[in-house]
């Protein structure tokens, strides 16, 4: 592809993506696309930590869930007793403010995890991040006064902005698409900058990175905060789209799904999580449509994943780049 054709191809892709709800007359498929889009945003955020800064956060779903819960709670309003005589009451707030709170809460927990990652690296960081997600899940299950526990937070209001309610699926689709594109642009800016290079340097060779003056802690924390905020945004979108949040949003399987999307697509590439996300997000539906027996669907899913990882260990996007030359 020549340099001149690139913007045209990008524009054609965008046009195609934007036009989907106009001709896709299938509410269920649109729903699948919306949920896949939300997961792609989360996978892109994981890619920043895993693919660029080189830190495997196996508790990434914690940021997603914290974003979902914080946003849902602020939009619904809540009352908790923090001390026997002291209760905190929050009245229901507009959804945009709630989502902002969700992003901030996720970002703050990202800061916390980033600081920890400075102390523990490698396998230890993986364990700490898994434990973090598990602890947050247990809080969501057991702090019934705040989270309703397994009864879930219900009737979460849909996104509303400038008097427009994102109630129907096409509106939600465009909202998710817009935020996904914004996330992509933000990550691209970061990656092609001094900050992104510092993250890569940290992943590649930490001793050398510090020797040329890179404050690795600072950039690790930056990666974690941006990544967590983005995952929290995805979580908030999820909460106001499906309009119910229960502690299952913290399940380990969701982190695994994000990792699969990033690894198969190509970690450390911009398009990787998008490609991996589309394939492994839409695959279960495709298999169902192909009328494969339900018990065989996940076997096919797993087999395909193993094949991709085995034959394209760098991921699909780097493999395609190599083929092109």
């Amino acid at each position: 592809m020549s340099e001149k054709a690139k913007p045209l191809v990008t524009a054609a892709w965008l046009l195609f993506l934007v036009s989907i709800p106009l001709w896709l007359d299938n509410a269920y498929l649109l729903h699948v696309l919306i949920v896949t889009g939300i997961f792609i945003i989360a996978a892109m955020s994981l890619n920043l930590l895993l693919g660029y800064a080189g830190q495997l956060s196996l508790g990434h779903v914690a940021f997603f869930g914290i974003g979902a819960y914080a946003s849902a709670l602020v939009s619904l309003g809540f009352k908790v007793t923090l001390w026997p005589q002291w209760a905190l009451t929050v009245e229901p707030k507009p959804v945009w403010l709630a989502m902002l709170t969700g992003m901030l809460a996720a970002g703050a927990s990202g800061w916390f995890i980033g600081r920890i990652a400075f102390k523990v690296r490698g396998a230890y960081f993986v364990i700490v991040s898994i434990s973090f997600a598990e602890v947050v899940r247990l809080v969501a299950v057991n702090w019934v006064e705040l989270t309703q526990g397994p009864m879930a937070l219900n009737n979460i209001p849909p996104v509303e902005a400038f008097g427009f309610v994102f109630y129907r699926k096409p509106a939600n689709y465009w909202l998710v698409l817009g935020i996904a594109i914004a996330s992509y642009v933000l990550i691209r800016r970061l990656v092609h900058s001094r900050a992104g290079r510092a993250m890569v340097a940290l992943a590649e060779n930490e001793a050398l990175a510090t020797s040329v003056g890179i404050d690795v802690t600072r950039y690790l924390v930056l990666a974690a905060v941006v990544s967590a905020t983005m995952a929290g945004t995805a979580g908030a979108l999820y909460a106001h789209y499906v309009r119910i949040v229960d502690p299952d949003v913290f399940l380990f399987i969701y982190t695994v799904t994000m990792v699969i999307m990033v690894i198969t697509g190509g970690k450390g590439t911009l398009a990787g999580p998008v490609v991996g996300g589309l394939i492994f997000g839409l695959l279960p539906e495709g298999l169902r449509a192909a009328a494969i027996a339900p018990e065989a669907q996940w076997i096919v899913y797993g087999a395909l994943m193993v094949l991709v990882v085995y034959f394209l260990p760098q991921g699909i996007v780097p493999a395609l780049k190599k083929v092109r030359g």
Partner: protein, 262 residues
């Protein structure tokens, strides 16, 4: 004039093992000072202590009059003290150009917020940085290899790339840890010429090296360490005649071969 680097009574102990004992030396602005000595003498340990990779047990280090006590490596680099590593150390998965761009970290002014918000100056600065990185790659002689992945470069070129990365960090004092180990004689000769050019840029050089032809050829002064102690300090000619240095490190053969025509 104050020496650019002052090491005072520096000691480093690992448990019961004394790696460096009471080391005192100065590096003067603009000179090339070589640190020689047998393996295990404490040369690399001294490098690590000076650049903040490990905390000295006792003693002090000052760079341009400022104490480095308790400072992290990246903060020390910011002051202008940059080192390379004994074992080849590049950002292997990235292109040669990217390697030098990473080295230019301290020269860039862009902040995380400006980057995320896409301020126009960020892109302008990126273009300038790429120009600068190409210049540095050209300087070390890797101009034609900018697109190649660092780990795929021949060994000698990787060593040059390391120096390019260090130069990108704008050192005032460049510390090279065995830069020509593994290079063939013609590559070593090329590197010596490069070192003379680096010197002309006003960069002071502290060198650890086993290649005596190079050490004697490029150094203004030589310090010899043995078993953690400085046993000699002088010009290359003085060091070659020093009986202590010959006994501990150079060997009798050296006196006959090189020392004879010195």
């Amino acid at each position: 004039m104050i020496p650019i680097l002052q090491v005072r009574n520096l000691s480093v102990r690992f448990g019961g093992l004394t790696a460096i004992a009471d080391m005192t030396m100065d590096v003067r602005e603009g000179e090339v000072l070589s640190l020689i000595g047998p393996n295990g003498a404490g040369k690399t340990t001294a490098f690590n202590a000076i650049t903040g990779y490990l905390a000295p047990t006792s003693g002090g280090i000052a760079f341009r009059g400022k104490s480095l006590k308790g400072m992290r490596t990246d903060a020390i680099a910011l002051l202008g003290l940059v080192r390379t590593f004994q074992k080849t150390s590049v950002f292997g998965g990235r292109s040669a150009l990217d390697n030098v761009l990473i080295g230019l970290h301290l020269r860039a002014r862009q902040t995380p917020l400006a980057i995320l918000l896409g301020f126009p100056y960020v892109e302008r600065e990126e273009r300038e940085l790429i120009e600068e990185a190409r210049k540095i790659l050209g300087f070390v002689g890797l101009g034609k290899r900018e697109k190649e992945q660092a780990s795929a470069l021949p060994y000698g070129d990787q060593r040059l790339l390391e120096v390019a990365i260090a130069l990108a960090a704008q050192p005032k004092l460049l510390m090279l840890d065995e830069p020509v180990s593994g290079m063939n004689p013609s590559e070593t000769a090329g590197f010596m010429a490069k070192l003379a050019e680096i010197r002309k840029l006003g960069i002071t050089v502290l060198l650890v090296e086993h290649d005596m032809k190079m050490v004697m050829g490029v150094s203004d002064r030589v310090v010899c360490l043995s078993q953690g102690r400085i046993i000699a300090d002088g010009t290359p000619a003085e060091i070659q005649r020093d009986p202590e240095v010959i006994r501990a490190y150079l060997g009798e053969r050296f006196r006959r071969v090189v020392g004879g025509n010195a």
